[in-house]
Structure formats: C-alpha cells, structure tokens
C-alpha cells in the first residue's frame, strides 16, 4: 500500500519539474498546445479570415497557368496566411486547422481505446495466468502476425459507407492493443508476486482492491510513457491511411489527404506539399520528444 500511496504526488511534481527544465520538452508542449488551440478554434479562425475549409477562391489562383496560386510561395498573402491550394483556391490555414481536428480526434480516440483494451486484457492475462493467459497470448500472436497495414486498407476500402472516423479508430485499435498489452502483462506478472501484493492478499483484500489499489498504480508511469509514445504512431497511421485514400473521405480535410492531394503539384507548387508535411512532421516529432523526455524523467526517478 505504501508504495502506491506515497509516490503519486511527489513523483508527479518531480517529473513536471524535470520536464520544465528541458528545452525540448517545453518547445514540444508549446507546439502541441498551438495545434490543439488551432483545432479547437478552427471555426473561429474561419470566421475571422472569412475562408471556410471548403470555400473556393478563384481570385487567388491563376487559371491561365493551370490554376497555380497567384503570388510567390504558394499564394501566401495577408488574405491567405498559409497560401491556397492550386486549382480551387481553398485556404490552406483553414484546411490545416480543420484537418487538425480530425487527426487529433482520431488519434486521441484510438489511443483511449487501445489503452483500455491493452490494460484490461494485459492485466487479465498477467493476473489470472493459466488458460486466460494462454487465450489472450494466442490472440495477440495472431494479431501481430497479421499484415496490419494491408489489412487495414483492405477493410477500410471494402466498407464504403458509414462513419469513416469511427471505423479508422476501431481498425487502428484492434491492431494496436497487443503491443501495449504485452508489456502490461509482463509487468503485472512480476507485480503479482511482489511482497506488498501478497501482504494485501493475506490481509483479505478483494480482487478488485488488489487490481485497482495495488497493481494499477504501479503500472502508471510505464503506461504514461507508452501511451505518449503511441500517440505519434496513431497520428502517422491516420495520415498514412488518408494519404492512401482509405482514411477520412473528402471534402473533410485531413493532413494525410492534403499531402496526397499535393503529389501531382509538388514540382510547380512545393508549398502546397511543404505546409501540411511540416505540420504532420512537427506534431509527430513533438509527441515523440515529449514521450522520450517523460520516459527519461520517470527512469531517473526510479534510479534515485
């Protein structure tokens, strides 16, 4: 009990301090906060600039030159802060902001669902062992042997109707949970045999109390790290599937889809490709750096 009860407040504060002193972690957090604000206030941004994500602006493109944006750098101007798309003149800032909503929502939901599945099934396997463990492990082996990307694309492309975002979340989570569950299972197995769990069991604690008060709090730090490191993977997967044309359906904007749209234009209008590419790269990088620094901070705490 003491191990679980003593650590949260102090270790939480220590980790926060360690992260605040780290320039990479602060910059990453700031960038991610910017993206979240962009996503939350996407409609407001559209209202202020007067450009919705799907509004065509024929004045901003040059139809004589095959529809490339007027002006340099992909049509960046006071009117369009990040330029416009070639051919139809849609405002890139509005599309980036609305695309951030889609990407973040899908990545966050997929993370939540994966974590739920991974923790519940991983703990079940590690706690009860025996045949429960056997069954869960075989299912994990099976899912991990599956060519996930090919299968995700195949499933998504064969389901033309329905809510694409929900489908994406489900498909990503179904193939994603074994990687988390494997670690949770291993850690639960060692925790179950530790003295403090045995002591709690001997003093008559119920199974629920053992799981939620003794084991789960001790998984907390590795869960936080693994989940933070999983989010960039899901942002990338969503963008990748949309890039391949089986993700979010147009006209709903998504970063991967914008990059896919720019493939035919990168030679004449590189900014159309560079802007969504940079946003995607920086978001994934920030999440990775944050996860990496979190792990370092937690590891340093364990060592001391």
């Amino acid at each position: 009990m003491t191990v679980a009860a003593l650590s949260p407040a102090t270790s939480g504060r220590r980790v926060t301090h360690a992260l605040l002193r780290d320039r990479g972690a602060v910059l990453s957090t700031a960038f991610l906060a910017l993206i979240v604000l962009l996503a939350v206030f996407a409609p407001l941004i559209s209202a202020i600039t007067g450009h919705g994500p799907n509004d065509f602006d024929t004045a901003a493109i040059d139809t004589d030159l095959g529809g490339i944006p007027r002006g340099s750098l992909g049509g960046i101007s006071a009117e369009h802060l990040l330029g416009v798309e070639p051919q139809n003149g849609r405002d890139i800032l509005a599309r980036i902001a609305h695309g951030a909503r889609v990407s973040l929502l899908i990545a966050a939901s997929a993370t939540a669902l994966t974590t739920l599945l991974g923790v519940v099934l991983g703990m079940l396997a590690g706690f009860y062992q025996g045949w429960v463990d056997q069954v869960i492990c075989r299912v994990m082996d099976f899912l991990m042997a599956f060519p996930a990307l090919i299968f995700m694309i195949a499933i998504l492309s064969s389901l033309p109707q329905g809510n694409r975002s929900v489908l994406l979340v489900v498909v990503i989570s179904v193939f994603g949970w074994p990687y988390l569950a494997r670690v949770v299972r291993g850690q639960t197995m060692t925790l179950v045999n530790r003295e403090f769990v045995e002591a709690a069991r001997a003093s008559g604690a119920s199974t629920g109390a053992l799981v939620f008060k003794e084991i789960l709090p001790n998984l907390r730090s590795s869960l936080i790290v693994m989940v933070t490191l999983a989010v960039p993977g899901y942002v990338g997967t969503e963008a990748g599937l949309s890039f391949l044309g089986v993700g979010v359906t147009p006209p709903t904007p998504s970063w991967g889809q914008m990059i896919a749209g720019s493939v035919g234009w990168y030679a004449v209008d590189p900014m159309y490709f560079a802007i969504p590419g940079a946003f995607l790269f920086l978001t994934v990088l920030s999440l990775t750096v944050l996860g990496d620094r979190l792990r370092a901070a937690f590891d340093a705490g364990e060592a001391s």
Binding site: A145, I150, A154, L244, F281
Partner: protein
C-alpha cells in the same frame, strides 16, 4: 530441439490458416459480387451465372474456402468441359482484373520488393549501428546529442513525406537523380542503382534512426554490467573489451528486431513502392485493394503473414545461437 521446432511449425501453420480464414470471411461477406465486375457493361444474367460456376462462386462458403486452400498445395481446375482451365499448384487463382495467374504475378514482383528491402536493410544496419555505437562510446558529448537529436527527428518523418521531399529536392530542384524507372540490373546498372537509391534512403531513414537509439541504449546498459568491469580490471584495452565482451550482448536484441522488421518488409513496402511507382508486391497490394481484386488481395495478405511468421521462427532459433544464456527446453 526437434520437438520445439515441430511445435513452432504447427503454430505457424495454424496462424497462417487463421489469417487465410479471416481474410476470406471478410472478403466473402463484405465485397460486391466480383462476377458483375468481370462481366463488364454488356452483361446478362446467364453470363453472370456462367462466371459464377467457372470460378466456383456458386458454391457455399466452406466449399469455396477449401477449394482455395486446396489449390495452394495441389492446384485446381476452373470450369468444366471445353472451358476447363487447369491451374497448377501452387495456385492462388487468377486476377479478376487482368486474368493473370496470381502466383505468376507474385513471382514476378517479389524480386523488386526483395531488392528494395535488402538495399534498405544494408543502409539502415550500417548507419544505425555505427551511429549508435559512436553515441554510446561518446555518451554526453556534442556528437551524442546531435546524433540522437537527428535520430529522434528522422524517426518522426512519415515516409511518404520524406519520399516527396527527397523527390522534390533531388529530382526536381538539383536534378542529380532521374525519376525512378523500372530497369533491370543487367540492362543498365547505373540507372538501376539511381532508381532504387531514393526508395532505399526513404525506407532506411526511419529504421536507421530507431536502430541508432536502440544500439546506443543497449551498449550503455551493457557497459554498466559486472562482466564488463571484470574485463576492464583484467587489464584489457577499451577497444578489446568492446569487441570481445560488449558487442555481442548489446547487439543480440538488435538482431531479433532486425529479423522481424526485415521479414515485414519482404511482404512489400506498400507506401514507398506506391510513391516511387516500383512494381513490387507492396504496389500490387495497393493496386489490388483499389480495384477490389480479391484473389490478389488474398495472396498479398497471405504472403505478408507468411514472411512475418517465418521471420518470427528464424529469429527465435538464431537467438539461441547468439545468446548462450538462452536454451530451448522441450516442455
């Protein structure tokens, strides 16, 4: 040992069977009738029935599934009488789009995917392990910080973004490379190399960054072990302790991960092959999915699963050689 291998092989066959079954169920249940697609615009109900019976699509699910499974090992016949077509084993059926034998398509395209995978693997192993070793030895110096910063950045670039950026810089702006072309090595080795260079770089970047970080972490952990202290106190030089005692335990986990990554790549680098227009198994997968070509989708899924499962087994067997602390005991 023999018993262990036999058990593992049985497990592999079971997993491949399940992958096959699930893929079949999903396409059996979800896909529109392929006969309508094959038949085209000038279609009559009789023609559809005929296609159904030739392809065996009028049979119940179980019959179709075992027909497919049987065909892989022993070959099968399509149609009867004058229309009879014998598909020799290993038979994966015929593409609904082109009518080509799916097995022939796989055999034709596998060398391209293998070339992409092998070239990329050589690059990422060299770069990743050397950079990781140097970082571990010079832990905390500017080299270590720069290399690890770059590795973190490099592993965050989605490969299609990197592919397009490289193509823009190297092909459009600097014009140092031609646009990738389908050229055989024997015809023009220079163009062949130039065509594969970008796919290799794109695929290798992400893995090299990951392997550099893993190598660094493993070597640092190993250097802190007791047997390393013993080796140093025996008076061995730093280079010798590194070569004789540290490398093997530090690189063994890398070997296992490499086996898995490489096996997965053999099943086709879907995005990279598509972006660069390379006619490998990965592009075949993307194309077949876009065109709803069920026999081809079945084949690429099975092939990819096959490589993953084989890779898994090879890794576990090799591991016992690399790490003498691990011994397989027949249970």
């Amino acid at each position: 040992m023999a018993r262990y291998v036999a058990g593992r092989l049985a497990g592999m066959v079971l997993i491949l069977f399940l992958v096959c079954l699930f893929t079949f169920i999903i396409f059996f249940a979800l896909q529109p009738d392929p006969a309508v697609m094959i038949c085209g615009k000038t279609c009559t109900p009789e023609r559809i029935d005929q296609i159904h019976s030739v392809l065996g699509l009028d049979e119940p699910f179980v019959g179709q599934f075992f027909g497919f499974l049987f065909g892989i090992f022993a070959g099968r016949d399509y149609g009867q009488g004058a229309n009879l077509v014998h598909c020799a084993g290993p038979c994966l059926g015929y593409s609904f789009q082109t009518g080509q034998s799916v097995w022939d398509m796989v055999v034709e395209r596998l060398p391209v995917s293998a070339t992409v995978a092998i070239g990329a693997a050589v690059l990422w192993l060299l770069i990743g392990i050397v950079a990781g070793l140097l970082s571990a030895v010079k832990e905390g110096t500017w080299w270590d910080r720069t290399a690890m910063g770059l590795a973190l950045g490099g592993s965050s670039i989605p490969n299609y973004v990197l592919a397009l950026a490289l193509q823009y810089v190297l092909v459009v702006q600097l014009q140092v490379l031609p646009f990738p072309q389908a050229v055989a090595f024997g015809d023009d080795p220079v163009v062949w190399f130039e065509s594969y260079l970008m796919p290799w770089l794109v695929l290798a970047t992400g893995y090299a960054c990951l392997y550099a970080r893993l190598t660094r972490a493993n070597v640092i952990d190993t250097l802190a072990e007791n047997f390393m202290r013993t080796a140093r106190s025996k008076g061995l030089s730093p280079a010798l302790t590194m070569r004789r005692h540290a490398l093997r335990p530090a690189l063994t986990p890398i070997a296992t991960i490499f086996g898995m990554d490489f096996a997965a790549l053999l099943g086709g680098a879907l995005i990279t092959e598509t972006v660069f227009g390379l006619n490998g198994v990965g592009k075949m997968a993307a194309d077949s999915i876009a065109k709803n070509d069920q026999p081809v989708i079945m084949a690429v899924t099975l092939l990819a699963a096959f490589f993953v499962v084989i890779g898994n087994l090879v890794v576990d067997l090799v591991y016992t050689r690399l790490d003498p602390r691990v011994r397989i005991t027949a249970q």
